[in-house]
Symmetry: C2
């Protein structure tokens, strides 16, 4: 057996701790599979972020991540600190420049600086592996980069944030509001004290930007991701979606169209009785559509120290075995420029919920605004006896009531114009709700 | 760019034709990804099995597969003929002995001869890749062999035969009998004229034997797979399963237990509202349970020329790039001996359907036979008004009626003994139906 693969680990929090546990548990079988032992040489960690369940007394402590990254004793710098810039960026750059392989779970860093870091890795002939950065333990980076290479990929989408999926699942199960469920999720540790990054869709957008580059062979382009979070989803929407045969998920979707690439993160109606609709709680999933393979769907744990450590280790084994690929599948030179499709040109079906004053002529006025934009309506939710969600039915004249409709295929621009006009007409007492539908 | 990777293709049927179409469509991008062009040098095919939609006039024709396999001009022998022995085995062996890499979609060949062929490949320092042999386009071989290597895998299972899944899906949707749906599936080309191999579970068993070896690091052992087909499933079972919160799928399941490895293929009740329960029609899926990653589920097309070609190409790219691994992940020497668990020791819940004579004392007699084996009952289907499935309810005294029950966790031996005793008692007018339940 050849010499060990020597690791410097920066960050011993949830994921770093999981990695040390995995290496301790399965060191011997990993050595057999990788052809050489994987050895942690030194670690660097902030005391207050450290996973206290893991004993790190046996490891040399590096004074800081940057000096660890350039330590002549290491072959691979494993960056598990997180953060889109700062010391994470400095240390990864230092490692690549020093000719060290890098393994990272840092989606924010790669979404913002992936193109330049990949070029730096190539220039220095080293790996920059990031299986753990997208969808935790689900082996989707390798699946796209190596297994589905025979395909022209047209679409990639997924449930990429466990916090959002947990909140939406709980809202549906318990019929409770977003605010209530979020509070509970925070108390239980499923959501951060400052949850904006998750529930606002930004974490999903980071991961989507990486998937887009891998799937389409284009340079990472985070800035063109259209982002909406789940804050405005109400129990009424979830219930109406159910009545209409859908569930609501926060999806990241990347689509190649005639006019360019769409990258969008938003609450999405997906048809019931599909695998993706059944991905509940903190689970993640990713679906890839290729011209030969068709749809491939991968489901698993998108976060957590243990599952994410499994992904980090697969990256390490690839390096140990010498299976080194350009970070985004194609070399920097071969990556195509990113051509952005305008969000206004997005085509699809829409769910629309209006809180209207129930007066004579209201529905006619709404209908004519939709028709003026060429939007045709596929279905309208009718009020069922005893249902909690009011449909468009006469109650006390002049009181607000909900109208819920599903459109046929139309454009984002048409829907926005119609809704603006309806709002200006003064028929609604709240901002209209609009949720895009994704046909699977 | 280095020299092309030179392919000899044996078998230009559905999959071979798909491969030639893929290489023609994406040759240039494949060359960029593989670092070298992939060139078909010669083909060998039986005229009457040939895909007539593909033009092969541009290729040299080899007189037979064995001479193609040893042709000095080829680097890789691609075997897409099928068959567990005969010319497939002869030509693959000849190729490996001649130092050629082999890519095959032939599960029967590998299930029966995988261990010796893997040893032969290792001895000659070449690849024996078979991504296309298990679950068509789903990249599960690579996922287990490379991505999930950090895990101790405890279980692997899946829906591995599209024909069976299509038949079960249609039986459920249309409430029709197995025989009727099979006949229709044959007419539509979803089932073979002689369907035994698919519906009897043998094809699933071949694929399971390969997954077991990959997942557990044991030598392929097809002979110890317990096999039941779907022939005995009735619409009454499917409906009762639905009432009880389950759907019926033909699963291949491999499980590591204290007493050894279980490999079993049988109709299985899986809980509704899980991703695997929503895998319908000709789709396949595979689920892997690892100690760190948890459950990873992969879903996609399990057959068809295009999807399977996608898998063949991923194997070819690995060879072109020099990413060569032992066929079953570990070297032949490192593969552990297979220790078989006895099927009688299998533990789990069971669905039992009895067609009983509805006489005073019948239920008491049945209950006491179950109790004598220590089996406790979780639920019994009650007859609902208007339901097509009769439960245990009094109709005309002495007429047969169905009793459907779900047991708590028990053993195969206990269930079989109880059912034998019930049959001997003369309370039933048909052989009892028994379907195992898999908790996901």
């Amino acid at each position: 057996m050849s010499d060990g693969l020597k690791i410097g680990l920066a960050g011993v929090g949830t994921v770093g701790g999981g990695l040390l546990q995995l290496l301790a548990a399965h060191g011997e079988s990993l050595a057999a599979r990788a052809g050489r032992p994987i050895e942690v040489v030194a670690v660097s960690t902030l005391e207050d972020r450290r996973n206290k369940n893991v004993d790190i007394s046996a490891f040399r402590r590096a004074p800081d991540p940057v000096s660890l990254a350039t330590n002549p004793d290491i072959d691979v710098f494993v960056e598990l600190m997180g953060g889109e810039g700062g010391v994470a960026k400095d240390s990864v750059e230092a490692a690549l420049r020093a000719g060290k392989h890098v393994v990272t779970a840092n989606k924010a860093l790669l979404a913002h600086h992936g193109a330049s870091l990949a070029a730096l890795a190539e220039k220095n002939g080293v790996a920059l592996n990031f299986e753990a950065a997208v969808a935790g333990g689900i082996p989707v980076v390798k699946a796209i980069r190596e297994s589905l290479q025979g395909n022209d990929i047209r679409r990639v989408y997924g449930i990429l944030n466990g916090t959002c999926n947990y909140i939406l699942t709980q809202m549906e199960r318990e019929g409770r509001s977003f605010a209530e469920v979020l509070k509970e999720a925070q108390a239980q540790g499923y959501a951060e004290a400052d949850p904006t990054f998750d529930i606002g869709g930004f974490d999903t957008a980071h991961k989507l930007a990486l998937l887009t580059s891998l799937a389409f062979g284009t340079r990472v382009n985070f800035d063109s991701v259209y982002i909406e979070g789940i804050e405005r989803i109400t129990p009424a929407d979830i219930e109406a979606a159910g009545d209409l045969g859908y569930r609501i998920k926060l999806l990241g979707v990347a689509l190649r169209t005639e006019s360019g690439i769409e990258q969008r993160v938003h609450p999405t109606m997906v048809p019931k009785h599909t695998a993706i609709a059944e991905v509940d709680g903190v689970l993640n999933c990713v679906a890839v559509t290729g011209d030969f393979v068709g749809d491939v769907v991968l489901i698993g744990r998108g976060a957590g120290g243990e599952a994410t450590a499994s992904a980090v280790v697969s990256d390490l084994i690839d390096i140990a075995r010498g299976n080194i690929l350009p970070p985004f599948g194609a070399t920097s030179k071969a990556l195509k420029p990113y051509r952005q499709a305008q969000m206004q040109a997005h085509e699809g079906g829409y769910y629309i919920r209006l809180s209207v004053y129930d007066r004579t002529g209201t529905f006619a006025a709404i209908s004519s605004r939709m028709a003026a934009q060429g939007i045709s309506i596929e279905s309208i939710v009718q009020r069922r006896p005893g249902a909690k969600l009011p449909g468009f039915n006469r109650r006390d004249e002049g009181e607000p009531a909900f109208v819920v409709m599903i459109t046929h295929r139309t454009t984002e621009a048409a829907v926005r114009k119609a809704l603006d006009a309806i709002e200006r007409d003064g028929h609604v007492d709240q901002q209209p709700q609009m949720i895009r539908i994704e046909k699977l």
